[in-house]
């Protein structure tokens, strides 16, 4: 199948891209890595009248580590650059661990960090990981720049807090706290396929060895990427023993709203979440001991 006719623009700067977006907001789409948008256009599920290709906007790429250890990653940074970045491995091990689960190397060579987040596919890895990391998204529009916390960004199926004339420009990720552990697990029929379910976990222990904070991002089990809020709060204050992980898994299975499809029934997805949350929490807890 071939994409429908569209008008193509290739701005050289963020300002230029925003001006175009301001002019054509309701009929334009931003073309980032194109690994979701172009297939949708080839299938004619999407037919934007105008494409604003930001692949030539160099200022949107790059990874910076701030003085406090946090990361600021340009929205157009390619996924394979994030995957092989030592800065990312050091400051955000969870993101580093999750990258190889995204599709295939050929897709990660083009796909971008910001593109996947702005696309907000509930079955994608990055939105769930961003939720578990407590990331913040920087968006620019006609009224300037604003920062949107990840947990206020994803609304529904492919819906985000971005206004039609706003563009995601960068992602801030806090440095992983001391005495923290993370895990990313997912289940797919074939590695690289969309997962039937997946879990991203961050756990932080307090000085008394009990859990001080926890975040569990889930993918493929709801209309939007989501945090399992009840499961996470149940872990706080516990020593994160196996029974605590099992309790959290049970709660998470109750919080989700999976749909059944050709690949997995809703019940099976619920079962997977129960298993995957338990595994992820146990792995994240074990990782804290590894780090001393």
């Amino acid at each position: 199948m071939k994409p429908p006719v569209f008008e193509y623009h290739a701005p050289g700067s963020t300002d230029e891209a925003l001006a175009l977006l301001g002019e054509h907001a309701w009929e334009a789409k931003i073309l980032a890595g194109g690994q979701s948008l172009v297939p949708a256009m080839n299938f004619r599920l999407a037919s934007p009248a105008i494409l604003i290709d930001i692949n030539g906007v160099d200022e949107l790429s790059g990874i910076e580590t701030a003085a406090d250890g946090s990361l600021r990653i340009g929205a157009m940074t390619r996924q394979n650059v994030v995957e092989s970045s030592d800065q990312v491995r050091a400051a955000a091990p969870l993101l580093h661990k999750a990258m190889p689960w995204i599709a295939h190397p050929q897709i990660r060579a083009r796909g971008t960090l910001g593109g996947s987040i702005a696309h907000a596919d509930p079955a994608a890895e990055l939105p769930a990981v961003m939720l578990a990391l407590g990331a913040e998204f920087h968006a620019r529009g006609p009224s300037g720049e604003r920062a949107i916390p990840a947990d206020e960004f994803f609304f529904g199926l492919l819906m985000t807090a971005l206004a039609p004339d706003e563009m995601l420009t960068a992602i801030s990720i806090p440095a992983q706290a001391p005495r923290s552990g993370t895990a990313f697990v997912e289940f797919a029929r074939r590695h690289g396929d969309y997962a039937l379910a997946g879990v991203a976990v961050t756990l932080t222990l307090g000085s008394d060895g009990t859990c001080e904070s926890a975040a569990l991002g889930l993918l493929s089990v709801s209309e939007a990427p989501m945090l399992a809020v009840q499961a996470a709060s149940a872990l706080v204050g516990t020593a994160v023993e196996l029974s605590d992980a099992e309790g959290a898994a049970e709660l998470a299975a109750g919080e989700i709203d999976p749909t059944g499809d050709l690949h997995a029934s809703a019940d099976y997805r619920r079962h997977l979440v129960r298993v995957l949350v338990r595994r992820a929490v146990v792995e994240a807890r074990a990782g804290i001991e590894d780090r001393g």
Partner: protein, 164 residues
């Protein structure tokens, strides 16, 4: 702009070492530009939504899906297709030779995409263990071989193996 009046854009790109000036419709996929405009039909069109890998080419040296890139996006970039591998019709690229030796293809439709996925990092990939090699092949579908002979071909190129 109507369907009868598609936007055409001049591009300048480098394909298999040759500089190419062309005018393309904005919606033309890189696969179709390579096959139909440049007659480089080694790049195959399979699923056209990024799943099968048959259209894999190198974009600035990295394997990508040519069906998920517009030809206009190749402006100012370099493209290499499977036609760039062999020096001549008589002399295959070592990777192609290894595929031939190991019977790593049957119908051959997926082969150009697999070759281009492997070519840039061949030494690194050939030295991997079997699971990791299969992982690297996961972005290319083959419906004939069951992959075993492809894995054999790749392993036969391991520079660290002693040849036994």
């Amino acid at each position: 702009m109507s369907d009868n009046d598609p936007q055409r854009i001049a591009i300048e790109t480098r394909v298999n070492g040759t500089s190419v000036h062309a005018e393309v419709e904005s919606r033309t996929l890189l696969t179709d530009f390579l096959r139909q405009d440049l007659r480089l039909t080694g790049t195959n069109v399979g699923c056209e939504h990024g799943v099968c890998g048959a259209c894999t080419v190198l974009f600035d040296g990295e394997p990508v899906r040519a069906c998920l890139i517009f030809a206009v996006q190749a402006n100012g970039h370099t493209i290499e297709t499977v036609e760039s591998l062999a020096n001549s019709e008589e002399e295959l690229h070592p990777l192609q030779e290894a595929f031939r030796e190991a019977h790593a293809l049957q119908c051959g439709f997926c082969t150009p995409g697999i070759l281009m996925s492997l070519a840039p990092d061949l030494d690194e990939i050939a030295a991997l263990d079997e699971d990791a090699i299969r992982e690297r092949l996961s972005g290319n579908l083959c419906r004939c071989t069951g992959y075993q002979h492809i894995v054999d071909a790749i392993q036969s190129m391991n520079p660290e193996a002693d040849g036994d």
